[in-house]
Structures are given as structure tokens and as C-alpha cells.
């Protein structure tokens, strides 16, 4: 007997079949209704009398559908296995209120399930089924539309974005009293491309100026992209993989165009997960650059001595909230704590913490779904009690969504607490040296670096006369004395006679190639300790150098080499060399 079903319901069932994979089917089949998930969900804990919040109950709404249509037991004995279909648009609306309104996809139940049922994964899938037929909370629809059509989730136009970045640039120039503190836009070949959450640019750009200040003080070679700067991704929340792929590829495409080395992702939990962990699958795209949370970037700046901080400038009592996406889903537990301890004196944990932490209650896009706000805030009682017990007056988190979720519940439960992020604390603790002339690696700053290589004799070895002139003039502009050699034999002879402080060496040259020259130099006592920077147009020859039975070269650059790259690497070689000399033997 044909079933009477609405068009949308028909489509949802059809699509469910296409979305089933091993993980989802495993999760749908494995539940034994043991109730472990019940105790792990903040919705259940705050609403003990209401079984409809229990993850297993919520999961059953979808499981019934699966059994009815895609599992033989449900097709044969639907009454026995509780199989049930959806028929009307009203059924879909009810399902919507469950998957969007009663779960933040925080995955706390997933990690506490002894059967390995990842409820959040198929809750997300169920969201995606509904979104595919246009059934979703209005807030999700509005944000998704902006991300599809304008390219960022708050509909920020290009000129407004650029205007705000320029404003933040002026702000840090004033604060640092240094017109050279800049926020470069679309600079190619940088080490860091910084991507953000649109709320930073639309409503609260203080995190942008703080980050810019940190990059500047670290002397970072960085940029912000003019497009593809939104690393958030509503595809994660709405379950729409197509949207997820479109948003992620916008970020990746821009990165490829700029030829940057590393995307640094500002403190946003779902943005980090989407861009770093999920986006490549959604977009069906491989990427060849690194991706890193700004938390790790900032921690490394301090540990490597690239910035100095004074923790006594942060005077509050702090606790740390682990974001579900940042911590539970992506494993960043210790890095933020390490950083927090580097910039504050008074940090205490909240309990439970790390992978067992409770959701901020605003996760999974809940902050954009006003219709569920009363349930959200009621269920936030668990989080409020947890925060209160820490005795801290500031809660730090590495997620913008958590900032808003926590701020909202702090207001609702009248807690005497503030929310902040690590970038704010690091920027606040920054030690700005008097007369700080931070050697920012900007091309227009080459002037200020004059004399950088003063007193150094550098030998440039390359068979291309144009390249010898180019490298030579860059090095001479920075105070070095340059000698040139056009082939291998000349290079060895000149090195012995002149004993330069550094040699840049081409690999493929007629006659004695760079590899042989390199080995000869290393094997000769007089020249063995001269630092060598290989510059080659044939990176595949790398093994010819590293396989040789002599110490590896101090630097290795692939052609074409820009002025900045050359200066930076030569500087690095000299500086590392100095540091080694200072080390006690």
C-alpha cells in the first residue's frame, strides 16, 4: 500500500539513504539503551524530569526512521523494533525542534558511550537532512544564506572589512606609537595568513588589534586575506556538507593564491574544527599548507622568545573553559593551559574539565536560534554552577561561540564573572620595549635594516649572472661585502682565499655542481665552518645534499627567492650561529 507522505518527508527519507555510512549505521545499530549518555548531557541534568532531552531518546527519533526504511528488521517487523516513519511537514518540524533545539552537538555523550555511539554525528546528519528540504530555525537560514552568498556568516562587505582592518591598524599604530606597525592585506608568500570570525570584524574588533599587536611584536611576516578570511563554517552546525565545502574552499583557495605557508586560525572552536579538521573532506580538496590555532602560535612566540610578556599585568583570578570543538573534537587541551600559565599567575581549573567539560550551552549554532533560548538558558544551570564553584572572576575560553554562550548565562544567572580570550590576555601582558624597533620583515622596511649585515663578507655562487647581481645587491643594500663566483671551481678557490662569513650556493651549475662544491667546502678544515645557504631551482636535488657524509647546510631555499626571503634567511643563519656560540659547551 503506497504511503501518503508530504513531498519534503519523501525527500528526507530518500536523502537519509544517501547519507548512511559505516559510522552512522554503526551508531544507529549499537545503542543498548544503557543510559550512560543520560548522565553526561547538560540538558538532561538540568531537566531531570523530562526524558525527551536524553541523547538515547533523541537518537531514537532518527533510529526509528532508519529502521523503518533502511533496516530489514523494521521493514519486516516495524511494530517489534519501534520503526516509525515521518509523513507530514509537521513531523519534520517536530524533528527539527529535537535536533536543533535539544542538542548542541557538544559530543559529551559520545565520549561517554560504552558502545561508541557518536550521537552528535548523526544529530548533525539529521540536521542536514532537514536543511536539504528547507526545514531549519530561521537564524540558521539567515546565517547560511549570508555565508553562501556574501562569503561570510555576517554578510560583511569587502569594503567594510577592509575599512575595519585599516581602523585597527591605526589603533595599534597609536598604541605602539609606531607607524610601522601594519596589518598587511593580501601580501603573498607570507609565513602566516591570519583568518578570523566575522563577529570580530563586525562587532568586536579588539581581538583583531590585539592579534595584530602580537604579530607585530613577534616580527612575524604575516598578512590578512581580503577574501576567504571567514574561517567559521555554518555547514558544521547545519549539517550541510555542501555549504561546509564551499566555505572551506574559499579559505583554501585564497591561501593557495597567496602562497602562504600557514593559516593561523583565531580563537574559534567550530571554525578551527571546520577549517583544520573537517573542511578538506567537505570540499574534497587536499591542501599543502599548515593550519594552526592562534593559541599555539602565541604560545610558541613566548617560548621562543619572540615576544616578551609580563604576567603581573593580568591581575584577575582565572579559570579555563574547554570548548567542545576545540578540545573534545580536536584535542587541544594542554596548549591553551600552557599559554594561560605563561600570561597569568592565578589560574584554577573548573571541574570537570578537558574532554569531560560541560558545553558552554551555546554550541552547535544555538546562539543563533532564539526560539530555543529559554531551554538553553534553563539547561545552563549546570554550567553556571560549575563556573561559580571555581571562585574565579574571569573565565577564559578559546572559542567565540563559548564567549557568547558563557556571557549569556553569566548574565542570566547573575554571576560576578567576565569572559575573555587568550589573545586579549597575551596582548595585555605584552612587554613593549622602550624605543622598540621591531625588525618587521616588510619589504618597505628594508631601509630600516640597513647595516643588518654590516661587517659580513658573503659569497654568492650562481652560474646565472642576473641572479648574482640580484642576490648581491640585496645583500649589499644591507651592508654586506659581496664576492661572486660563477662556477664550482671558482667558488672553492675564492672561499679558501677570502674565507667569507656565509656562502649562498646554487646546485645545478656547469662543471663541478653545487653538491660537490658543498662537500669539498665542508671537508676542508679552513672552510668547514662557513655557513652555507643552498639556493636551488631544483628542490628534488635536496637529497643529493643531505645524503652527503658532512653536516647539513644551514639554510635551504627554493627558487625563485624574494628579497625578503633572502634577507630573512641570511639573518636567521647569522642569528642562529651567534646563539650557538653563546651556548656553554
Amino acid at each position: 500500500m503506497p504511503e501518503d507522505r508530504s513531498y519534503k518527508a519523501e525527500k528526507v527519507i530518500e536523502r537519509l539513504g544517501k547519507k548512511l555510512n559505516r559510522q552512522v549505521v554503526g551508531s544507529l545499530a549499537a545503542c543498548v539503551h544503557c543510559g550512560m549518555c543520560t548522565d553526561s548531557c547538560h540538558y538532561v541534568l538540568a531537566n531531570p524530569g523530562d526524558p525527551t532531552f536524553a541523547p538515547a531518546w533523541k537518537a531514537d527519533r532518527l533510529r526509528k526512521l532508519f529502521k523503518r526504511h533502511y533496516d530489514w528488521t523494521g521493514r519486516v517487523f516495524p511494530w517489534w523494533v519501534g520503526a516509525k516513519s515521518v509523513y507530514t511537514d509537521k513531523d519534520l518540524e517536530e524533528l527539527k525542534d529535537i535536533v536543533f533545539g535539544k542538542c548542541t552537538n557538544c559530543r559529551r555523550c559520545s565520549i561517554n558511550c560504552p558502545m561508541g555511539v557518536d550521537f552528535a554525528t548523526f544529530n548533525r546528519m539529521a540536521r542536514g537532512l532537514l536543511v536539504s528540504v528547507g526545514v531549519m530555525p530561521e537564524g540558521v537560514a539567515v546565517v547560511s544564506k549570508d555565508q553562501w552568498e556574501i562569503g561570510n556568516q555576517m554578510g560583511v562587505l569587502r569594503e567594510d572589512y577592509l575599512d575595519t582592518i585599516e581602523w585597527m591598524e591605526e589603533t595599534i599604530q597609536d598604541e605602539l606609537d609606531n607607524p610601522k606597525a601594519v596589518i598587511p592585506i593580501d601580501k603573498p608568500n607570507t609565513d602566516v595568513v591570519y583568518t578570523i570570525n566575522p563577529r570580530e570584524v563586525k562587532y568586536d574588533p579588539r581581538t583583531i588589534s590585539d592579534a595584530a599587536k602580537i604579530f607585530h611584536m613577534a616580527g612575524e611576516n604575516w598578512t590578512m586575506p581580503s577574501e576567504g578570511w571567514d574561517m567559521t563554517n555554518f555547514g558544521l552546525f547545519s549539517g550541510d556538507d555542501d555549504l561546509g565545502g564551499s566555505v572551506a574552499s574559499r579559505v583554501y583557495d585564497k591561501m593557495h593564491e597567496l602562497k602562504g605557508k600557514k593559516i593561523v586560525i583565531s580563537e574559534c572552536g567550530h571554525g578551527y574544527r571546520s577549517t583544520r579538521c573537517e573542511g578538506q573532506n567537505w570540499a574534497g580538496m587536499d591542501v599543502d599548507f599548515e593550519m594552526e590555532s592562534s593559541v599555539i602560535t602565541m604560545r610558541d612566540y613566548i617560548k621562543e622568545g619572540r615576544i616578551q610578556v609580563d604576567k603581573s599585568k593580568n591581575t584577575d583570578k582565572y579559570t579555563y573553559h574547554d570548548s567542545c570543538n576545540f578540545a573534545r573534537s580536536c584535542g587541544l587541551f594542554e596548549e591553551p593551559r600552557e599559554l594561560l600559565n605563561l600570561v597569568t599567575d592565578d589560574f584554577s581549573e573548573m571541574y570537570p574539565n578537558r574532554s569531560e567539560n560541560y558545553c558552554c550551552t551555546g554550541g552547535g549554532g544555538a546562539m543563533s536560534m532564539s526560539e530555543y533560548a529559554p531551554d538553553r538558558l534553563k539547561s545552563a544551570k549546570i554550567k553556571a554552577d560549575q563556573l561559580k564553584a571555581t571562585g574565579a572572576n574571569v573565565v577564559v575560553t578559546s572559542c567565540h561561540n563559548c564567549v557568547d554562550g558563557l556571557a549569556d548565562l553569566i548574565k542570566h544567572y547573575k554571576l560576578d564573572m567576565k569572559v575573555t580570550q587568550l589573545v586579549n590576555l597575551v596582548a595585555n601582558a605584552l612587554v613593549i620595549p622602550e624605543e622598540a624597533e621591531v625588525a618587521v620583515k616588510e619589504p618597505d622596511e628594508v631601509e630600516t635594516l640597513k647595516g643588518l649585515f654590516a661587517g659580513k663578507k658573503i659569497m654568492v655562487v650562481d652560474d646565472e649572472p642576473d641572479l648574482r647581481v640580484f642576490y648581491g645587491s640585496v645583500l649589499e643594500d644591507n651592508g654586506a661585502e659581496v664576492i661572486e663566483a660563477a662556477d664550482g671551481d671558482e667558488a672553492i678557490g675564492l672561499a679558501m682565499a677570502e674565507l667569507p662569513d656565509l656562502i649562498t650556493l646554487d646546485l645545478s651549475m656547469p662543471g663541478k655542481d653545487g653538491g660537490k662544491v658543498f662537500e669539498a667546502l665542508r671537508k676542508n678544515d679552513a672552510t668547514a665552518s662557513i655557513p652555507v645557504c643552498i639556493i636551488t631551482g631544483r628542490p628534488e636535488l635536496r637529497s643529493l645534499i643531505y645524503d652527503r657524509p658532512v653536516p647539513a647546510p644551514e639554510g635551504y631555499l627554493d627558487k625563485p627567492v624574494s628579497e625578503e626571503t633572502l634577507i630573512r634567511n641570511v639573518r636567521k643563519i647569522f642569528e642562529v650561529g651567534r646563539a650557538m656560540e653563546k651556548q656553554p659547551v
Partner: protein
């Protein structure tokens, strides 16, 4: 729909406390809404900011970038946060009778 009640006021708001009909907005209502956002007294500066937000919204149908807000009113960003502790998105927009901003806020 929930209601916001304060003194003589009883108006319809969304679940986050933003008024649903921008037409019913007036200065008395704004003063009442301000008390829910940690603003006890609406000074002349508060009005300048709120009126700017409101006029922008009536003209363009969206909330302005905070950049525009600061540029047009002349208030530094820090000052905006001092006036409206919950920030321009939630605090100031609510008082000005705008709908809740969309997205991660």
C-alpha cells in the same frame, strides 16, 4: 512569544529579549530596555549612539558595522563598551530596538 514587562510597559519580545516590532520603540521603552543591559542611566552620549543605530537600521535594515558606529558618532571603541557593557551587538542593539544580530553572537 515572551513579553517584556517594566513599569507601564508590556511588550512582545523574542526569546533573547529583543523587541519584535521596531515600530513600537520609543525613548521610554529604550530607557526601560537599557536597565536589562546594565545601563542604569541613559546619558546624552547613550542617546547619540542609540539614535545612530536606530536610524541606520531604519534606512538599511541591518545593524551597522561597529566601525561605522564609531566613525559616525566619534566614540572610540572602548567608550562604546563602557557605555554598553554587553557590547554593541547585544546591549546597544537591544536598547535601540533592533532585532537580535544573526550569527555567532
Amino acid at each position: 512569544m515572551p513579553t517584556f514587562e517594566h513599569g507601564e510597559f508590556k511588550v512582545e519580545v523574542d526569546e533573547d529579549g529583543f523587541i519584535t516590532d521596531p515600530e513600537i520603540w520609543n525613548e521610554e521603552l529604550a530607557t526601560a530596555l537599557a536597565t536589562t543591559e546594565g545601563v542604569d542611566e541613559m546619558t546624552e552620549e547613550h542617546w547619540k549612539l542609540v539614535n545612530y543605530l536606530r536610524n541606520y537600521y531604519m534606512q538599511f535594515g541591518i545593524a551597522p558595522m561597529v566601525r561605522k558606529l564609531c566613525k559616525e558618532t566619534g566614540f572610540p571603541l572602548k567608550k562604546v563598551y563602557e557605555m554598553f557593557p554587553s557590547g554593541p551587538a547585544k546591549g546597544a542593539c537591544k536598547v535601540a530596538g533592533l532585532p537580535k544580530p544573526t550569527g555567532c553572537v
